[in-house]
């Protein structure tokens, strides 16, 4: 194996100097060991240090480097270059205000996450030891607690694009269900009340984009379905 040229078309915008965004055609050589999209981006940045993107863990656990890759949201660090059609088109996550290049303003996303009260509430006095939880009850949290808050899902969701201030979005709702499903949390009713609203929960039309893009293979739609079921049960 030898070095390989990778071609890109990248969304560029620096409000400090650009009147408007443009797509830049650029290519870079990568070594055989450099297989991930992030490896190529890091190399590109050596060539042109103005190219801006977030990154940290480079192993798919921190959620920093979500971007729109050939039309689909994903994490650069765990996307194989080989699987991508070239030129690879990179854009910032859709529907969010662009700060610069591939960096978006995530304020609205985190606001929605915070709005579901993302913490276990249990106002009974804590025991001296751990609160007990059976392995089966703990299993209910699998597929929920692993979320890395990358925003791939919410920024691929049409309902979130239209109402980012009112619709909690798939990531926030997945988190909401994570706390509803936790046997240690004693506020399930308040949590459901908090979502009983034409927008916050019910804007989800089960379009499934979120499931399609989640790099951790989580299923927000299923979690949303479970919340809806609980709402209905509660009424009945």
């Amino acid at each position: 194996m030898t070095t390989q040229t990778v071609k890109f078309s990248i969304y560029r915008y620096d409000p400090d100097k650009d009147k408007k965004p443009y797509m830049q055609d650029i290519s870079v050589e990568v070594e055989p060991g450099e297989r991930k999209l992030l490896d190529a981006l890091v190399k590109l940045k050596v060539k042109d240090d103005t190219l801006s993107f977030r990154r940290s863990c480079r192993e798919g656990v921190c959620g920093s480097d979500a971007m729109n890759i050939n039309g689909k949201n994903g994490l650069a660090c765990i996307t194989d270059i080989d699987t991508l059609k070239q030129p690879i088109e990179l854009r910032p996550l859709p529907g969010m205000p662009v700060v610069r290049d591939l960096i978006v303003d995530m304020t609205q996303f985190f606001k929605q996450y915070h709005s579901i009260k993302p913490y276990v509430v249990n106002d009974t006095p804590p025991p001296e030891k751990e609160r007990l939880q059976s392995p089966e009850d703990r299993k209910e949290l699998d597929g929920l607690y692993e979320c890395i808050l990358c925003a791939c899902c919410s920024t691929s969701c049409p309902s979130f694009w239209w109402n980012p201030d009112k619709f909690v979005g798939p990531a926030g709702l997945l988190a909401a269900y994570r706390f509803i499903a936790d046997t240690r949390d004693t506020t399930i009713n308040e949590r459901l009340d908090n979502l009983e609203d034409p927008y916050r929960l019910f804007r989800c039309h089960t379009i499934m984009n979120c499931v399609d893009v989640c790099p951790k293979e989580l299923n927000p739609t299923k979690a949303i379905g479970k919340i809806k079921e609980l709402m209905i049960k509660r009424v009945a």
Partner: protein
């Protein structure tokens, strides 16, 4: 004279990883007006990548005792750890983990509903007898689960975060008291003074001084660089842990928990070679021991693959359901970064730079302690440190796996408590910030912005990383270290002339990387110079010229080197301080040759 905008707080915490968040929680709950600064959104801090577990002698599956945990930690540290701090940490562990569970941490569970625990390297029962289940785990995503739980608890406590703010320097007055930090908002490049009655550093590690590392891009030792520039010495920086199992070629970590669940290391002939190096603990010997055994196998031609440059971590004999349930993240990493499904084939691994045992010197209260020039060690008023950036010292010359997450919880909390006592203890004034401190930072930023005919940041960084890798790795050689010191001082000159093309004010990551390199180089110098001077082998620091004799077992020379290194940036001066061999309540754990 440049003026800067100023914000004032009771406390400034720099860093929102496990240590910073645990400390911040104490401060918020005590009602202190607190600012928590982080280069990244809190849950993106590198604590998120920790996999295997957090240690505590809960004894949920079999008998355990904090005293055994303490013994293992002292032995693991090759007796360089301070025994007062180690006792403090091991005693506090069960409470710290139970608290975390109450905060909502989704630990795995045993059938009786208690927290699941797995064996981990170097953790033994009954003072070194046999491996014990002490690592409390949430699958192989313990750090992720812990960091999110701590962040969530801080949301509940209304902690005020300054996200994507990079601290550039700490501010001290003429007497040395710490008055806060100068920080840059990454989105706007605005530089602001965060003045506080007390300052706590929890900026994590600096694994990026090496070319091959399990650490995130952001682990650039900023807290160490800031402290060094402000005249605070750095302790025991020659001790770096090389984790046995980084994915060959990629550096991404495969947790020791894999061996805890039954994984075996094999050489080219399929031999379980650890049986020769550590007959009792085998694959679960301490990390320094396993890493050296692996490098020895590779150096002696028993490595695997075309280049004979790695060994294999084999779990194909485990039940696939155990792998899917207990090690799902590892399976994912292995498929993505090594291209193998560990259910079907072994994972290629090599020792990879992982953890810094040294750091900013503190006591077990999280107070920063420095020599006063008259032979005493005194507290720096208003300055605290916790987590990987700090050196308490509980890890000594080699850290046991799962003891770092514990360190974050225990010392994050104790540093927070000490800080609260200090701030509430008496009325603390907000003195004028010395202009010289502001000028010092602005000069550095201006130099970078105006540099012409300089050095590319990437070139200088690569030169540093390659030098560290070649001259200060798993095995160290007298001549190589000597050359290494010269080389790293040459690299420092490159770093002083770094140049960036990007001059934008908006989210300028080129500038951030250059400023991070200013910190990395301080860490690299401290490491190389401290390592060159220490002419013995101890824990993770192993030299070819340290003879193995009855008086110096495995090259460890207690008569001359049972002491902590302190590196001063000024003149690269070294001094030493004694190891505290006196625990708080129990007997000293006596020096002994280390074997597993």
């Amino acid at each position: 004279m440049a003026k800067l905008a100023k914000r004032t707080f009771d406390a400034v915490v720099v860093g929102a990883g496990g240590a910073g968040l645990r400390a911040a929680l104490q401060l918020s709950e005590a009602g202190l007006k607190t600012a928590v600064l982080s280069k990244v959104f809190p849950t993106r801090s590198h604590t998120v990548a920790a996999q295997g577990g957090v240690s505590a002698s809960l004894g949920n599956s079999e008998p355990d005792h904090w005293h055994w945990h303490m013994y293992d930690t002292v032995k693991g540290s090759d007796w360089l750890g301070d025994q007062d701090a180690i006792e403090f940490m091991c005693r506090a562990a069960p409470q710290a983990v139970i608290e975390l569970e109450h905060f909502g941490m989704p630990f795995d569970r045993n059938d009786d509903g208690t927290i699941y625990q797995r064996p981990f390297g170097g953790h033994m029962s009954n003072f070194g007898e046999k491996p014990v289940r002490r690592a409390c785990a949430a699958a192989d995503r313990t750090g992720h689960a812990m960091l999110h739980a701590l962040y969530q608890r801080n949301v509940r406590a209304n902690t005020q975060f300054f996200v994507e703010w990079m601290a550039l320097d700490m501010i001290r007055d003429a007497e040395g008291k710490v008055l806060g930090v100068i920080a840059m908002e990454m989105e706007t490049a605005e530089i602001v003074i965060f003045q506080a009655k007390a300052t706590l550093f929890a900026t994590g590690g600096a694994g990026r001084i090496y070319y091959s590392s399990t650490n995130a891009f952001i682990n650039t030792g900023d807290g160490l660089g800031m402290a060094a520039r402000a005249g605070i010495p750095l302790e025991d920086m020659e001790f770096w842990q090389f984790h046995p199992t980084g994915v060959a070629g990629a550096g991404v970590l495969i947790t020791e928990g894999v061996r805890g669940e039954g994984g075996i290391l094999r050489n080219a002939s399929g031999e379980r070679f650890m049986e020769r190096y550590a007959p009792v603990a085998k694959d679960l010997a301490s990390r320094d021991v396993v890493s050296r055994a692996m490098v020895t196998e590779i150096n002696e031609g028993r490595g695997c693959g075309a280049g004979k440059d790695h060994v294999l971590l084999d779990i194909t004999h485990l039940d696939p359901e155990v792998i899917k349930h207990r090690l799902p993240g590892i399976r994912e990493i292995s498929i993505k970064f090594a291209g193998v499904d560990p259910i079907k084939a072994p994972i290629p691994v090599v020792p990879t730079c992982h953890y810094q045992m040294g750091g900013i010197p503190t006591n077990y209260h999280g107070e920063v302690v420095v020599p006063d020039g008259a032979g005493n060690h005194v507290v720096v008023p208003g300055f605290y440190a916790a987590g990987e950036v700090a050196c308490a010292s509980v890890h000594g010359a080699n850290r046991l796996g799962t003891n770092s997450l514990l360190d974050l919880l225990v010392f994050g909390k104790s540093a927070g408590d000490s800080l609260i006592k200090y701030v509430k203890g008496e009325v603390r004034s907000m003195p004028e910030i010395p202009q010289s401190e502001i000028d010092r930072t602005l000069a550095r930023v201006d130099r970078l912005n105006n540099q012409t005919n300089g050095v590319e940041v990437n070139d200088a960084r690569l030169a540093m990383q390659r030098t560290m890798q070649a001259h200060c790795g798993v095995f160290r050689f007298k001549d190589m270290l000597k050359q290494g010191v010269e080389k790293i001082l040459e690299v420092e000159k490159m770093v002083q002339k770094t140049q960036i093309k990007d001059k934008s004010k908006v989210f300028n990551t080129a500038r951030i990387e250059a400023l991070e390199l200013d910190n990395l180089i301080e860490v690299a110098k401290a490491t190389m110079i401290s390592a060159e001077a220490r002419t013995e082998s101890r824990g993770a620091h192993v030299r070819d010229d340290a003879p193995d004799t009855p008086a110096t077992p495995n090259g460890r020379d207690d008569a001359n080197w049972l002491k902590h290194t302190l590196w001063h940036r000024e003149g690269n001066k070294l001094e030493y301080k004694p190891v505290n061999l006196t625990p708080l309540t129990v007997e000293t754990i006596e020096l002994k040759a280390r074997s597993y």
